[in-house]
Symmetry: D2
């Protein structure tokens, strides 16, 4: 295969950026915000292969205008304390871009974001314990690209606990299962395809512990960014109407009653 120069992946790292400013102990771990640390981990691994920007809740339109999303190949999402403050129109916009092919990496407490629950259709609830735990992240799918270069298990010495039952649809691929000090387990790495978009959920990562400084966690997130990136032009799935024996020239939806009228005049085969 000849030498090839790949276009860099355009990544937008979205962070809620509230804990960091409200809680001093979080601010010490993530002095520039968790989003900056997460962005740093992606650049660390992908280098020139990515162009990373960040956006936060308090930016106008949360930093997620149509213009930004159109130029975003992969969006990563971290939120926790302020899920409710995310505007519904922005959620709808992100949802539409994911269905159109934008990749999405959902991190940790992002499991309960409006964006993720809208895509999953379930409550995305789980069990948790906000005390000091050791998390072990085990690989279940050892040849998946997202596991490349990652030890089995990943050992995270300080972490809160997320446990089953995690109310999500059965994932398309189950990649990681974690266990915690108390003996709990969690499906911590899952992929989903929705519309034309690929989604990777990865649970390790917390505001109270320096998980996003962990070398293996950073590697997994970078791998996830590469994996969810689509190679196709962005297009929203649409409902198309075809004439008999035509497979390639469908036209858009014209409403249920109108199409009946059309049908009345259409030749039957």
């Amino acid at each position: 295969m000849p030498a090839q120069r790949t276009t860099p992946i355009r990544v937008t790292v979205w962070g809620e950026n509230r804990h960091e400013r409200v809680d001093e102990s979080v601010g010490r771990i993530y002095p520039d915000g968790m989003h900056t640390t997460i962005a740093g981990g992606i650049v660390e691994h992908l280098g020139d292969g990515c162009v990373v920007r960040t956006a936060t809740l308090d930016d106008p339109e949360h930093g997620l205008t149509d213009e930004v999303l159109e130029q975003t190949d992969v969006l990563t999402w971290w939120g926790h304390a302020a899920h409710d403050e995310v505007r519904d129109d922005v959620v709808e916009r992100v949802h539409r871009h994911v269905l159109s092919g934008m990749g999405l990496v959902v991190l940790h407490s992002g499991h309960w974001s409006k964006v993720f629950t809208t895509l999953m259709g379930t409550s995305c609830t789980l069990s948790r314990r906000a005390a000091h735990d050791r998390e072990l992240v085990w690989t279940v799918d050892p040849t998946h690209p997202i596991t490349e270069g990652v030890p089995n298990p990943i050992i995270i010495d300080a972490q809160e606990m997320y446990g089953e039952t995690f109310d999500i649809p059965a994932p398309d691929e189950l990649i990681f299962i974690s266990s915690f000090t108390g003996g709990e387990v969690f499906r911590s790495g899952c992929t989903f395809r929705r519309g034309h978009g690929k989604i990777f959920f990865f649970s390790p990562g917390d505001q109270d512990y320096p998980v996003y400084h962990h070398a293996d966690v950073r590697r997994v997130i970078a791998n996830g960014v590469v994996w969810v990136k689509s190679d196709r032009p962005r297009t929203l799935p649409t409902l198309l109407r075809y004439e008999t024996d035509d497979f390639f020239n469908g036209h858009g939806y014209t409403g249920p009653i109108e199409s009946q009228e059309e049908q009345a005049h259409a030749p039957t085969n």
Copy 2:
């Protein structure tokens, strides 16, 4: 196993009931409304094993109050021309009941209902041709309870066409694949689990053709009703917080910041 008397399945058949009254030709096929014909097919097969009521769009709250849903084991859904008229609060209510364990059978153009798209998280778009087609419904999962007593293929002589690409999450189980006169194919029988609820989508059925009078289609719908029925008490999945080494006495969510304060006072292990 000793003789057992099973409690009848309480079914609510929901129908939009608009085409039947607007379009004379539809009214001739379904003089009492499609919902009545669908309900009749379920009773025909389940007999004393079910108690069936119907509800329609023009009923107060679309006939789907909390009281009705609490007493509904299985809801079937047919809509087409008036998806947009279904109130968002009723959609939210149905969604909550499905996640809590109410079974759902989504029929034909119900693929584009707010209820189904909310549960799927995708656009649920497809290709279609509203002309006279023969549909063949092939069994892919021959031992699934939903296929019991059903010929392979089911032959439906008059039907419109639904074709791929159907924008749904990969189903948990793919049961039927249909083909049409024009050579199109469609994943016409799929199951999904969402929260505590089971969902069966079955595409054959149309207002312009007498598909709900077809013996095999009626059998599949009745089988689907039995299959989606839950045997568990209805409960919404909830986010629970646990103390160390307790697995059984989780308490409810108290908010992200509060739980941090609790954590500050919690013993660490």
Copy 3:
């Protein structure tokens, strides 16, 4: 639904029955053999709803003649030390019956039996530690019939460890995930459909610990027996040849070259 009397499920519990006689400590835990204890747990829960027999490695044809298998709705399999002694023709016979619709429950070290590896097509290897562990069995699929009446988690105080990566195909349904004292995790309850047969793999259970006396483990196995039982007549999937426009009268395979000759004389459409 009227009162109904269901035909009892005919269960054959197969046990290798070697450890029990070689190792005194195993004999103390299972004085009549593990198969007898397992059979007892099934009867305890299903009562008149089942008829259970046992068969062991040292029986003629391992107790698994065609006559026995034809009258077996569900076979449970436990083996460990003597997988290699199981005759290939018996494995082939069991395999054929599973593909024809016999239910199969594979227990613990049965993961490495010829029967299971033949059905899976993979190595079915895993990680293990034969030391004293606590196993917690967590429910991932809370509405699955196999989890009915089972606490979440099941706590097994004395157990060896089975850990990931478990080399199996992605299961059709993932029901339980276990964790162990050392922090390992394992997909401990999985279902698979193969041919017309349903398979449930359940890993808790060991010769060195009294796991098959554990109330919840017994309940899960009994639930599994009910779940894998087929309601259809036993038939082996076969390759069928059809004439144009006939869907229901396929005839058996007559060989690749012969069918070419037939084709030469067949009308083309």
Copy 4:
């Protein structure tokens, strides 16, 4: 991302090569054997990105020695009339290499090869009609890499029919569904992961019709070759034993009874 030079994919195209020599009409379509035509299609699309060799049934050891397989990243398999002549030891060898990470593309009647049925664990039977049909290959998973550059549907004007029910395990990914002139449907493009290996089954292709000269079919096969290629070193999944609190230094299996003895001397935690 800097310019990168990827190592070419080493492909071995295996062909039974019997029909071509026995049946004059097949010889006219594939004068150098079907394997040569298939190999040509792969080179046509991957160019310098692949190195392709061919091997056939009548080569010593069917051309599939350990040396050849060790240097094969991806094996494609076409067989039909002589599945039974493939030596069991070669099947075992290919199976082992797939579980170790060699990619496998199974073509058309290869569905009934020993290699494929061993990997699937099922009968892999289907319905068929060896008459002239039009096949339409529809895309179900529109963003899968295997569908890149492929029209939806692919139109194959001359083809025999393969129909459901196809007795395979539920595929990990369903990519294509075909329909035929008679109205039959078939899951014609499926992926499976087994051990460390990826498998793509693609049914279009037949000895009696020039399907392997079809531009889109050639593209799909080339895409499949790229997709099943593993990026990891080839290793067979193995059963490993660990000591307490060690996760990374498992040692090999030493037998069921021996490990018991070890256990007697092992410290318990």
